[in-house]
Amino acid sequence: MGKYILRRLIIALPSLLGISLVLFVLLALAPGDPFGELATNTNIPPEVRAALRVKFGIDDPIFVRYLRWLVAMLHGDWGFSFSSRIDVDKLILQRVPTTLFVVGSSQILALAVALPVGVYAAMRPYSIFDQIANTFAFVGFSLPTFFTGLLLILIFSVNLGWLPFVYRVDIPATGWHWYWENFKQAIMPVVVLGLFQAASYTRYVRSAVLDVIRMDYVTTARSKGLNEGKVVLKHVVRNALIPVVTLVALQMPAVFGGAIVTEQIFRIPGIGSLLITAILANDTPVIMAVTFVFACLVVVFNLMADIIYGWLDPRISYR
């Protein structure tokens, strides 16, 4: 298993490099001088501007510039935010935990809904439950997150007044009260993001279980006299999860995209809303760094999916 994880890590590196190359080429291809903004900004002294030009080596050949940029990124030297006036890495580190919290809890919610519903629907295909679940799944992934978010705000914050619609990191409370307030403000973003993902996961789980449940070994397990619960949990679900893990990993870019939107609607101070503010403020170093962090997060989650694979199907890790 250790060797397998190491091998996956080595495979993940080229894709990170590829992503960084794409990012860099985009920036290099962009018309005009990406630091031209600085020339008109009187808040930035000329020596900083000159230092930045030298640091990013704007006049060097593109390959040298890429290598230099990569080395700087690896050293943790991510530049300086023009608008917030602190180092980009500090700014991002402050924000990442919030995003991870929201994305993580919404994924847990999505799987907690999708797994039982999908398995149950697949065990009784074309039953009433299956058709209702299918319809809800379609409705769920056709409702864009920005619309459901607004709807929830309209119902629960504006009309009923139960939940706050601005997410705060600095809640003026301690102990249980703090947890309760945090829980209350996290409900809506997590539900919006989680149910949106749950809709597509339900369909994946259903079709994966349908593929597995007709296998001969499942019939064997049943005819051995194992009770149905054991057959489903130990024989069907574990094998059905393998394709589901792939699809969940493929969904990761979309999940982080959804996180940007939800962070924007509920004003959650995560890296998604940081990206939007940075774009609106033309804050190039922050934009580049946040995009790269998103890419890294996607790669890390894909890596986790690979490791779960190895656990679900030991054959993969021995190969």
């Binding site: 992503i19 864009p144 619309f147 607004l150 995009t291 790669v299």
Partner: protein
């Protein structure tokens, strides 16, 4: 469901195409006496904060939203089919490199990159083709550029199995060149799953466009696409909920109808139908 969805989508499409000829209120007539009014006979969908008629704006914006959806789908399908076909017909390193690029694109965080590309290239295209056309081309191109990967994989998988079939071998034995083989024999047979993927891509592209507009980074404010209407409406949720509801419902209905059509097509085209 799929048939009902075709009807709904046809109605929505004809409404946005023909609607502006029937509903003749201008989209930008500012009337401060009728600010934020609820739906009435005079303004069936109500008005926004400048007193502009929302029905007219929705019909106009729907044209853009649907046009973006279909155009981006076309871009994605053309790019995906091209890359999938090249990679499926050539063996060895070309195939490996193209598939590596495909996997790389699949792992890219799409929305952040969309935002990045729009941020970097917006001004350039605006100066080049004008604000509306520039943004339209940019949005269609980038959405297409981030949606071609599933199509490429599908086409490649089809090519891999089709190119070993007897009829292809027979054509080759008759002396058909590789381009002729690809265009006349393999490609037409591999398009079934592509059509399904393309249908679903339209829905994804419409959502992507409204997401960009909703984040305030899509079309400029004077082009009221459905996402843009939602973006403008979100600050008036408490006093004018109708503003957000109609635009959101329009996006939802369109996307739902397209998804159902895609599902129906998949069932119709899939030979190993589950019964």
């Amino acid at each position: 469901m799929a048939v009902a969805s075709v009807v709904i989508l046809a109605m929505l499409t004809s409404a946005v195409v023909l609607g502006p000829f029937v509903w003749r209120l201008p989209i930008n007539e500012i009337d401060f006496t009728a600010r934020l009014t609820s739906p009435s006979w005079q303004h069936p969908f109500g008005t926004d904060d400048l007193g502009q008629d929302l029905l007219a704006r929705m019909l106009y914006g729907g044209r853009i939203s649907l046009a973006v959806g279909f155009a981006a789908m076309a871009v994605a399908i053309v790019a995906g089919t091209l890359i999938g076909a090249i990679s499926g017909i050539s063996r060895g390193s070309v195939d490996a490199v193209l598939m590596w690029v495909t996997d790389l694109f699949l792992a890219l965080p799409q929305l952040p990159l969309l935002l990045l590309v729009i941020y970097l290239f917006r001004d350039f295209l605006k100066n080049w083709v004008g604000p509306e056309g520039g943004v339209f081309i940019l949005i269609v191109m980038v959405i297409g550029a981030f949606r071609w990967m599933p199509v490429a994989r599908l086409v490649r998988a089809q090519f891999l199995s089709l190119r070993e079939k007897e009829f292809v071998e027979a054509a080759r034995a008759l002396g058909a060149t590789t381009p002729r083989l690809v265009i006349r024999h393999i490609l037409p047979n591999s398009l079934g799953p592509v059509i399904v993927a393309g249908t679903i891509d339209v829905a994804a592209a419409i959502i992507a466009e409204s997401t960009l507009s909703f984040l305030g980074l899509g079309f400029p404010p004077d082009i009221p696409t459905w996402g843009r209407l939602l973006f403008d409406a979100k600050d008036y949720l408490d006093i004018a909920p109708h503003w957000a509801l109609f635009a959101g419902a329009a996006i939802f209905l369109t996307v739902l109808a397209i998804n159902f059509i895609g599902d129906g097509l998949r069932d119709a085209l899939d030979p190993r139908k589950v019964m």
